[in-house]
Structures are given as C-alpha cells and as structure tokens.
Symmetry: C2
Subunit: 241 residues, 2 copies
DNA sequence: TACAGCAAAAGTGTGTACAGTTGCCGTGAT
DNA sequence: ATCACGGCAACTGTACACACTTTTGCTGTA
C-alpha cells in the first residue's frame, strides 16, 4: 500500500518548510486537497465531505481529517463543530486586503533583512535575480514565455529576502498571504513591459537600501512595491471585468 | 459521557471566534494543552507524547491529535513526520520580533478602521475605554489592582479596533502574535504610571485619527504605540535580568 | 572500552467500528 | 394548507486495534 509515494509530491518542499503537520500519507493528501481547492474542483463555500474525499483519494478518513485540519490552519478552510469543513470564500476585497497585509509584512521583512544583513549565498541569489531581470527587460519588449521567466526571477528575489529576515513567524504569515488565491508573488499581475520594468527597478532600490543598511528605507520601498502590485491587480481586473 | 461539558470551558469564545477546528471534546482538550504550554507544565522543546497526554486528559488519542494539530497551526507546536509534536521555543529575540509584527499588523488594522469607519457600538466601547482610562490615571498613581483593570481597558481598546478593521486574516494573524508567550496586548509591561499615561494618550490620538478619517496617521501612531510597548518590554527585562 | 548491529519497546500513522449530532423528509394534527 | 413532531439517513466525533517507524539499550566483537 505504498503506491501513493510514486504519484504526486507537488510542492512538497514548501509544505515541510512551513512546519506543516501530517505525516507520509496525510501530507500528500493535504497537497491534493489544496489543489482541489485552488483549481476549482471544489468551489467556494462547499462542504468537504470526509467520507467522499477518503473514497476519492483512496485513503481512510484519518489522514483526510488531518489534512483538512491543516488546511484550516492555513486559512483555506473553515471549521464548524459537528458540521465539518467548508471551503473559505475569497471575495475580491479579501484578496485586495491580503496584498495590503503582504505589503506590511514584506516591508517588515525587508527592514529585518537590512538590519541583519544578507549571507553570501543570499546576496548571490539576489544579485543573480537582478541581473537576470535586467537582461530580460533590456530587449524592450516581452517574447513568449518571458513573463513566466520573470515570475521565477521575482519569486527568487522575494523568497530570498524573506529568508534573510530570519523570522519564522513572519515567513509563515507571508506564506499564508501567498496561499490566498491570486495573491502569490509568483503571480505577475502587471503584464505591461513598463510596469514590470518599474517593479524590477524597485528590486534594485530595495537591494541597495539593504546593502546600505538603511532598514527604514528598505521597508518603505518594499511596502510601496507590494502595494503597487495590488494597484496593478485592481487595474487589470477593472480592465477585464 | 458528557461530563466534559461541565468542567473546563476556558476562553472558549476566543477559540471559536478564530475558526479553530476540533469539535466538542477536542476543543476543550486544545485549551487544556495550550495552558500546559503557557503555564510551563510542559517546557520548551519538549515532546508531546500522545499516549501520555490522552491518559492525563482522559480522552482517546484522536482528539489529542486534533488538538495538537490545531496548536501547531497556531504556531505553538512544531511537527515532524513520525516524530510527533514538540513545544516550540520562544527565545527573547522571537518575542521581540513578534512585537514588531504586531506593530505592523495593528497599524494596518488602525488604517483599515479609519478607512472603513466604526460602528456605533464599537465607538461606544472605545469611548468608554478612553474615559475609564482617563479616570484611572487621573489619580496620579496606581492603587493595588489598578494595573489589572487597565489591562482590561487596554484589551477592549485593541480588540474593538481590530474588529473594526473588518478583516479576518488580519485578526487571526494578530491573534497568533498574542499567543506568543509574553506578547499579549493584555500584558502591561510598563508598570510605571508615566508610561501607562503615555500609552493611554496614544489611544486618544489613535481614536481621533480614526474619527477624523486619517488612515495613515492612525496607522503611524498605532505602529509607534505597539513598538513602544516592545521598547518598554526590553527595558523592563534589562532591569530584571 | 568503544562501537556496530540487532532486537525489543515505545511512539506515531492509519484503518475502521461505533457513538453522537445534525438536517431532512414524511406524517399527522390543527 | 401549514406547522409541529418524530424518525431516518447522512455525516462528524471518538475510541481502539493494528501497522510502521524511531529510539533505546543490550549484546557480542574488535
């Protein structure tokens, strides 16, 4: 009965890095249920029937319950005694607010990083991300797939800075913000070259502030940086909806 | 087998308000285990033996596991696969950082409250807390038990403002900060009359900023306010240790 | 005496049966 | 026709047994 091992181990590193509970089976179950939620297999407000889930995933109710509890801890599910778990709804204003929270928290992370300094490897990763971004942007316009590449570059920059803040609670809270649908830093919401260029320029300035050991400046720029993403999101939503 | 109902329902409202999982039994078990952690019955770094706990609390392992998972979600416990749960350690720097995080988040909450406005009942509670604090402080010095009273006043002010921010994710994150040992807003760390007076004056100014619909000013004062508590904590620790 | 390897014990992970609760549907009285 | 009540079905909550993993400590050997 170890056929689970072979199948799906999506994003396993993220999960264990975040001190998430659930052992062997429960961990993979958790990721699978998370995907059900994020890809819309189960819709917002829907009840998570334990028996049905355990049949679908071919495990007993025990790991299913563990996974559901863990996901509730992450804020993706709601719990009510004797009524089980339901998919939490994320109306637009909640998503927008999540960006504000992220802005505050990542700003704080930038300040901590500036106060505490970067390790050699962290500096290396960030510099690499800056150079890679410069290169990508120097062409003046985006080719196919370039946005996907920048997504990675952007993620590296933010993840590394977060690690440099050396504060676990902060990391976990920001991770929760990222798990709000649409709110990940890996989501580039501004598709226009000029916007991305401005964002990338922010990265340069944040890095400079950190290297200059100017915590408050680093915080201010980072806050504005993430807030700017929120503004872009609003703009792009208005454009489409 | 309903003898649990009669016994311990400590802080139950807080728990369910925070969308915590765990049903009837598991919920009370969770609170009891939380107390074990906070009052030092189990010490930092210690392993939470499920069998022993279930015997101590006189329930089966199932609700114990549920409670442990919930507490891990709150950040009080660490989990490692096949090795169970351990009490997370909170060294001084983590506690101090938690105040910074709280400062950022409560600042944001104040901003939201200023943007969104207070309900009648919220305004009433806050004004009452301001008046009560004025009265308590007007005597010029503290009598026995006055600090305890102010603790309640202080808590009312902060809780109400948080509710007025109308953002669940924010509430939950701040609640997590409060659960860090020593980091609750109900802990008055500055025992001197002058410090408390200054804090209370902050409350007045925050309220004024909110009523004047000045979000950024409300945020700035609140951040400084909570940061000030952190500074007082450091001072008082230095004095004692 | 130090260390490797193994075996027993302790502890966690999972499956499953049963108990308790909720919600729904049908029946009957008003 | 409507509402109240009772019983049934579905689902969650808890207990417990068994499987698997980790840890411990013992023994034999170098």
């Amino acid at each position: 009965m170890q056929e689970i091992e072979t199948s799906d181990q999506t994003d396993l590193k993220t999960a264990e890095a975040a001190s998430i509970r659930a052992g062997n089976r429960a961990l993979s179950v958790m990721e699978r249920i998370r995907n059900f939620i994020l890809d819309g297999t189960v819709s917002a407000g829907e009840r998570m029937n334990e028996v049905r889930l355990s049949k679908t995933l071919d495990v007993s109710r025990t790991p299913v319950r563990a996974a559901l509890q863990a996901l509730a801890g992450e804020g993706l599910l709601d719990y009510a005694p004797n009524r089980g778990f339901t998919v939490r709804e994320f109306p637009l204003n909640v998503i927008v607010d999540a960006y504000e929270i992220r802005a505050s928290l990542e700003g704080l992370a930038a300040r901590f990083a500036a106060e505490r300094g970067l390790s050699d490897s962290e500096r290396e990763v960030i510099e690499k991300s800056l150079v890679a971004g410069d290169e990508l942007l120097s062409r003046g316009e985006f080719a196919d797939g370039d946005l996907l590449i920048y997504r990675g570059i952007n993620g590296d920059f933010h993840d590394t800075l977060l690690a440099a803040a050396r504060n676990r609670m902060l990391s976990e809270m920001i991770r929760i913000c990222h798990h709000v649908p649409m709110s990940s830093s890996r989501n580039i919401v501004a598709f226009e070259h000029r916007d991305v260029r401005r964002r990338h320029d922010d990265h340069h300035r944040i890095y400079e502030a950190i290297m200059a050991r100017e915590p408050w400046r680093a915080e201010a720029i980072m806050r504005e940086h993430v807030s700017g993403v929120r503004a872009s999101l609003l703009k792009s939503l208005k454009g489409r909806v």
